[in-house]
Amino acid sequence: MLTQRWKLLSFVLLGVFLIFIVPIFPRYIQTLFTSIIIFSVYVSSANLLTGYTGLISLGQAMFWGTAAYLVAILTTRGMVENFYLILLICIVSVVILSASFGALAVRVKKLYFMIVTFAFGHVIWSLAMYSLQPYTYGFDGIRNVPRPNLGLPWSMENHVNFYYFVVIIAAICFFILYLIIKSPFGHALVGIRDNEHRMIALGYNTFLYKYLSYIVSAIIAGVGGLLFAYFNCYVNPSELHWLWSGDALMMMFIGGIGAFWGPVLGALVYTGLRYWVSAYTMYWFGTEGIIFIFVVLFFRGGIAGFLNDLQRRLGQSKR
């Protein structure tokens, strides 16, 4: 029961911190936290697929970037102003994209799945980079993406208001993910991750489960990308690049794979480190690689696994 109470307490503390403490920090720290929250949404989407379903995708950036580009194109060209309509367009496009690619990718075996998602991600990246240049402006990307127009009395140009907007959308995403993971559907996904043959023998249509998990994960990643486009006011092809898909896996791994709050810890540590390291060196990717190798070889459970271990050891010493 102790752990349950601790969980509730830390949850309340997190809420108080995000709602009351962060807005009084200087602006650059607020910006950092806004990005951490957006990245957490993105990494959690990948966690549903990799941590809970056992499918390693190297194409998660495809959905993040597609939504970000849609926001940028629709708003800068003045085609759609209404935020809710843009949200709807993004979700529908991401569903179409993931449903068509997923139908191909989920059919193949584990390692092939990774290569295939890698290849699909590369296709979308090269579309944005070269083939659709009239719309995406290629390497230069799209500048001056406006903040969302919610039709509410609060202006999103104010960065504190925008911060709250990001917190609310992210909270909705996390709530949905939590419901999914705790539902029978979520338990079936974990079953597939651990032993697919057994699930097939039990009569589950594992293809359908994996396929739906792929689509849901794409939607959440798309919402992350949408938030990012509004936050960053600038979108370029690196949002679609496979390195960004790899970064999702990195953050997930650093935080603790398959743990619900792991992605949040991972995004926090990753973004903080990146902010700190980039002040000293331009070789961030190499640094990231070194950190990651360290985590894979010595801290295989990530931060969440480490905390769990610590908790267990403390519990034993008390008894």
Partner: protein, 288 residues
């Protein structure tokens, strides 16, 4: 398209396919034997090219540079296998793959540090720096030499795999690791050797390909993408299937760039999608 242009493009496609084969042969052998996808394989290719270029500038001897390129690839492969991958065999799939991803990030930044971000070109050796008259069109001899080298490597690997004792040991390892261990074969040593051989060929390919592809940061990703497509389209099967797939994709990419410029980068992936729809295990893969 005129006949002479078509002929030149045909040869270009074959040369690209041969370079791709130098990379994909090692990649698919590792995939078959150890069940890992080595994302750092493209980095061996790129670094092999850079090291070869540096040695060529220092010594002026193309042959030494070729060996240096291959040796640097083999060294990196050895380090990857012996000090990193070895701790991860038998784990769930994602750790080894992500580890090679992390290594490719490190190697890419290392190359950026050592050779800067400026694109470089290597001159073909003077012996081969001329053009041959082929039925009315002039074609660089160096590219024909690459095609020849590709054929020689293919024949060499084929002979190694099918006719030598070492090849038999590797094939035994691919088929059934436990049984091979039971027969007294030192499987970890086989793993290391295969890794070194595969990455030697990749580093070697990176250098001999540099007069055609150039050397720049990001080459590693471009080339590994193509090699991955080879693995999907060809499947994990035999060496000749791998070569056929490389030639197919090399030709598709080259002709795509001529006929369909704007969407050329998609040609290969359209083939990937079609193959996945028709036969998810790849054209030459084992059916499960």
């Amino acid at each position: 398209m005129e006949f002479t242009i078509a002929l030149a493009q045909l040869l270009n496609g074959i040369a690209l396919g041969m370079l791709l084969f130098l990379l994909a042969a090692g990649l698919s052998l590792m995939f078959g034997l150890m069940g890992i996808v080595n994302l750092a394989h493209g980095s061996y290719f790129m670094i092999g090219g850079y090291v070869g270029m540096t040695i060529l500038e220092a010594t002026g001897d193309f042959r030494i540079a070729i060996l240096a390129g291959g040796a640097s690839g083999a060294f990196l492969g050895f380090v990857t296998e012996r000090f990193f991958m070895r701790h991860l065999y038998g784990l769930r799939h994602h750790e080894p793959i992500l580890l090679t991803f992390a290594l490719s990030l490190i190697l890419s930044d290392l190359s950026l540090f050592l050779w800067t971000g400026i694109a470089r070109w290597v001159q073909p050796p003077t012996l081969l720096d001329f053009s041959i008259n082929l039925i009315g069109t002039y074609y660089p001899a160096y590219r024909l030499a690459i095609i020849l080298i590709g054929i020689i490597v293919f024949v060499g690997l084929y002979w190694f795999q099918e006719k030598t004792r070492w090849g038999a040991i590797v094939r035994a390892g691919v088929d059934d690791k436990e049984m091979a261990t039971g027969l007294g074969i030192n499987i970890p040593r086989v793993f290391t050797s295969v890794f070194c051989l595969g990455s030697f060929i990749a580093g070697f390919g990176g250098f001999i390909g540099s007069p055609i592809l150039g050397l720049h940061i990001g080459l590693d990703v471009e080339i590994i993408m193509l090699a991955m497509a080879v693995v999907i389209v060809g499947g994990i099967g035999n060496l000749s299937g791998c070569l056929t797939t490389c030639l197919l994709l090399g030709l598709a990419d080259t002709f795509g760039k001529v006929l369909w410029q704007r969407y050329a980068s998609l040609t290969i992936y359209i083939i990937v999608v079609i193959v996945l729809l028709v036969q998810p295990t790849g054209l030459f893969g084992k059916k499960s």
